[in-house]
């Protein structure tokens, strides 16, 4: 580096261009954040506030949306409600103020759990299978490797919904409709192609010498894979896992078609909240807010790996 600042470097961006870049990035971030912020704000509004016009920026926050999200309620006479004695919780109190009593838990929590099981289960499967397949493609002479890899990728070329009807019929025959296992298998099948391609790139970059050294040192190939290759592929595995998780977590079309009860995930469930007792936007917003949290946490935890994943290992350790 030269200590004289008069000449500008050809490789380093100038201060002005850095500022312009920062302005664009921040502006873009703000624009994309607005809907998210709006959803979070709405989740803390009362139902009248949520539909008032012009929209309220300043309002009295309430947990009503969250209470409504997690409960089912029935309308009662004021006399009955006063006869009940003191309310047992904040939600109880809010509900009574609307002339209702809590009848029981809603389906949101079970649906959310379904989402967790199905998304994490399919991600785990897709990444495990993908890692093994990618290792095989990367290290061995696989007959027709190029064609197989293209075939694996080609499963992604068709919009998944195009096969929805055949899969629906197949699943009915196999008894996989509306089961968590069925959804896990389906999402795994969709994600494994992405996983193979992403992970092959990462594993290709790990020199073979590491495994060869381990195999000469007395380990089997399997042991070498687990002790030497896997630890070095963690970056790629983490990045791949996030991509798979985001897909499985957000997937809506198949979920609507194939699940309705026991195995229903959160995405098809959230819109149904709106029907229960008028236009309950705060409850919908609350459902969405909670739904976003796991992905948000996961992404923030693994953001470094995610960035590297996007650049396909171009950023070397």
């Amino acid at each position: 580096m030269s200590s004289v600042n008069t000449a500008h470097s050809v490789v380093e961006p100038s201060r002005t261009s850095k500022r312009i870049a920062a302005t664009i990035v921040i502006a873009y971030a703000v624009i994309t954040m607005i809907p998210l912020v709006w959803i979070v704000l709405t989740s803390f509004k009362s139902p009248p506030d949520s539909i008032s016009y012009p929209p309220k920026i300043v309002f009295q926050p309430t947990l009503e949306g969250y209470c409504n999200l997690f409960t089912t309620r029935t309308r009662q006479t004021p006399e009955y409600i006063t006869s009940l004695g003191a309310p047992t919780s904040t939600c109880d109190e809010i509900t009574r103020s609307r002339n209702m009593v809590i009848a029981g838990p809603s389906n949101y929590w079970p649906r959310f759990q379904n989402s967790l099981v199905i998304a994490f289960g399919s991600t785990f499967l897709a990444v495990s299978l993908g890692t093994l397949a990618a290792y095989g493609f990367s290290r061995f002479k696989v007959p027709l490797a190029e064609d197989l890899l293209f075939f694996i990728l080609s499963t992604r070329m068709m919009p998944p919904i195009a096969v929805a009807i055949p899969i629906y019929l197949m699943y009915r025959q196999l008894g996989l409709s509306d089961t968590a296992l069925g959804m896990i298998l389906l999402y795994t099948a969709v994600n494994v192609s992405l996983a193979v391609w992403l992970l092959k790139g990462f594993i290709d970059e790990i020199p073979r010498e590491y495994e060869e050294a381990a195999m000469i040192d007395g380990y089997t190939r399997m042991q070498a894979f687990f002790k030497v290759v896997l630890p070095q592929a963690t970056t790629g595995i983490a990045a791949t896992a996030i991509f798979c998780l985001i897909f499985a977590w957000n997937e809506y079309a198949f979920a609507v078609l194939l699940t309705s009860g026991a195995a229903q995930t959160a995405p098809p469930f959230i819109p149904t909240i709106i029907g229960e007792g008028g236009q309950d936007w705060p409850a919908v917003a609350a459902g969405t807010t909670i739904f976003v949290v796991p992905i948000l946490v996961f992404t923030i935890l693994l953001r470094k790996q995610l960035l590297r994943g996007i650049t396909f290992g171009a950023v070397r350790k």
Partner: protein
């Protein structure tokens, strides 16, 4: 420790043959340098001995046992890779202990042996460091440590000094040889650097295009190169070739080059008229005003204790290594005196040395 025996080893990659019909023996405790230019098949040979590559044909024996088709992990050898292949997710101690863990050695013994090895290599102070922060020389020592901690049958090293800078290489060459003198492990060391090979090895195998051109001690290789390729590859500057066309008679003690009669070691074979080359090392040339073999000084290169003088002989340059105190003018005509005792003769068609008394004494003695 064990002897390594290679018999008619061949390796083909599709239609390309990387190693052709190699045979040699590395005796127990010997240090062999596998020397040759880039792409000549050194690494491939080493990988076949290690079991990382299966030969197309031929046999490999370790300590008398045929291991040609054994897996790498069953061969009990250690391999030092060119880029060391230190596991980046383990610290120095774990890297060195890794082979012992595979053998199920007890924890206390692993600890003791790792520390003993580290002391031997003077890296005991960095045992708990991460390998990613280490300097080239220390990485080198850790890689060596991982190899010797196992006390394997033999060591295979693939250009382990290739990535180090020149100054440090000299130091490591000495260290490696000292280490070998101490533990006397059978070693095959791959390099493309003739000076490294000369400095370290008990035996050298010179490879070219998958063929072992010559196998012998550094002295044999230098003094009695079996082929023009070896003569040209070894030595700096390499051997000079004075080409001439003639027939050679058994028992003859001289050849005629450019009309000048030159004494040579006694020729042991009758050969029909064809192109031959007289091979002479730069240090076997001296200047003499009376010599009929004459040329014009083309230039000189000062090397401190001596100088390399290039002389234009009409058919090309001949380089002589002479004392540094002699002065020459460029263009000056000089006479060259050859140390006839140390001359080699080559058949230019086959590239092989012509049998002579100089070469025979090697075969019988």
């Amino acid at each position: 420790m064990a002897e390594i025996r290679i018999e008619n080893l061949r390796k083909e990659f599709g239609a390309f043959s990387a190693v052709e019909d190699s045979s040699f023996v590395v005796r127990d405790g010997e240090f062999l340098a596998l020397l040759g230019p880039s792409g000549c098949g050194k690494t491939t040979t080493l990988r076949m001995i290690a079991g990382l590559e299966l030969p197309t044909s031929g046999k490999i024996f370790l300590g008398g046992e045929d291991v040609t088709f054994n897996r790498a992990r069953e061969r009990d050898i250690a391999f030092v890779f060119q880029l060391f292949a230190l596991y980046p997710h383990m610290n120095v101690r774990k890297n060195i202990a890794f082979p012992l863990l595979a053998q199920g050695v007890a924890k206390a013994e692993i600890r003791a042996r790792v520390e003993e090895t580290a002391k031997l290599l003077q890296i005991d102070h960095i045992l708990d460091r991460s390998v990613s922060g280490l300097a080239g020389g220390d990485r080198q020592r850790v890689a060596l440590g991982r190899a010797i901690v196992r006390r394997p049958k033999c060591f295979l090293m693939d250009e382990p000094l290739g990535t180090l800078d020149a100054e440090f290489r000299d130091l490591m060459v000495r260290e490696l040889r000292e280490l070998h003198n101490r533990i006397r492990a059978t070693t095959v060391y791959v390099t493309h650097d003739q000076l490294e090979a000369m400095a370290m090895a008990d035996k050298i195998a010179v490879m070219n295009h998958g063929i072992i051109e010559q196998f012998g001690t550094p002295q044999e290789i230098y003094n009695r190169p079996a082929t023009m390729y070896v003569a040209d590859f070894i030595g700096s500057p390499p051997m000079n070739f004075l080409r001439f066309t003639a027939g050679l008679q058994k028992g003859a003690r001289s050849v005629v080059v450019d009309g000048v009669d030159i004494s040579v070691p006694e020729i042991h074979l009758d050969l029909a008229e064809s192109e031959f080359a007289l091979g002479v090392r730069p240090e076997d040339i001296s200047f003499s005003d009376v010599s009929p073999l004459r040329g014009a000084v083309f230039g000189s290169e000062y090397h401190g204790t001596n100088q390399i003088v290039a002389v234009e002989m009409g058919k090309g340059l001949v380089k002589a290594r002479v004392p540094a105190d002699q002065n020459f003018r460029i263009g000056e005509t000089v006479g060259l005196e050859l140390n006839y005792d140390r001359l080699s003769l080559f058949d230019c068609t086959s590239g092989r040395a012509v049998p002579s008394s100089r070469y025979a004494e090697h075969h019988h003695g």
